[in-house]
């Protein structure tokens, strides 16, 4: 149990990367990027967890129980916002590419470029 959560983050990371490598569609590829980014959320949140910890909200907190790491949570919040911005941008680039090429397949697009 002591490393299993970390390994899940690793699995997501490699899976996302595999998705980027194997993708035949920019939309699929963009989603794979968000999966890869999810691995960083999982990594950050797991490294901040305390066994028997409680959420970092002091209102109504039970005394004596430690709070889990609030720093990684704030970092993850930033990360989530970044992911929205990146996804929107990659998709709008893909849309533009589609308008000029009529395809979303990275390889087909490459061939057209000559």
């Amino acid at each position: 149990m002591s490393v299993f959560p970390y390994l899940v983050a690793g699995v997501l990371f490699i899976a996302g990367l595999y998705g980027v490598v194997s993708s035949r569609n920019y939309i699929h590829l963009a989603v794979c990027l968000t999966v890869m980014q999810s691995s960083t959320y999982v990594a950050l949140i797991t490294v901040g967890y305390l066994t028997n910890g409680q959420a970092p909200i002091t209102k109504g907190a039970k005394p004596g129980k430690p709070l889990v790491d609030p720093v990684v949570q704030s970092l993850t919040l930033t990360d989530v916002v970044v992911s929205v911005a990146v996804l929107a941008l990659v998709l709008s680039l893909a849309l533009r590419a589609y308008r000029t090429h009529g395809t979303l397949d990275p390889d087909e697009m490459r061939e057209m470029r000559g």
Binding site: V31, A55, M112
Partner: protein, 96 residues
């Protein structure tokens, strides 16, 4: 108890993440991605990160699906439809 719950949730996150990657049809992938997002929400709740859980919830129910679906429909459901006409492939970049 918590440990068992944690193992189940983490496994779900890992498996669903891999499923998202392996689902090649964009429309179906958007749905699977929604489930993956929900598994992350539960994971964050279990790990005592309610703020992050709410963020992930709103993002994976509102922001991601909308942007993705709009793109999928705009592009004629992705590459599923090979008859889709190609436009303007003529001007390619010169001399690489």
């Amino acid at each position: 108890m918590t440990t068992a719950l944690l193992v189940v949730v983490l496994t779900a996150v890992g498996v669903l993440g891999v499923c998202v990657v392996l689902t090649h049809d964009p429309l179906r992938q958007t749905v699977v991605n929604g489930f993956f997002g929900l598994s992350l929400v539960i994971f964050f709740v279990v790990l005592q990160a309610p703020d992050v859980a709410i963020s992930e919830l709103v993002v994976s129910t509102v922001a991601y699906p909308l942007v993705l679906l709009a793109t999928v429909y705009r592009t004629g459901k992705g590459t599923r439809d090979p008859q889709r006409k190609r436009r303007a492939p003529s001007d390619s970049e010169a001399g690489r």
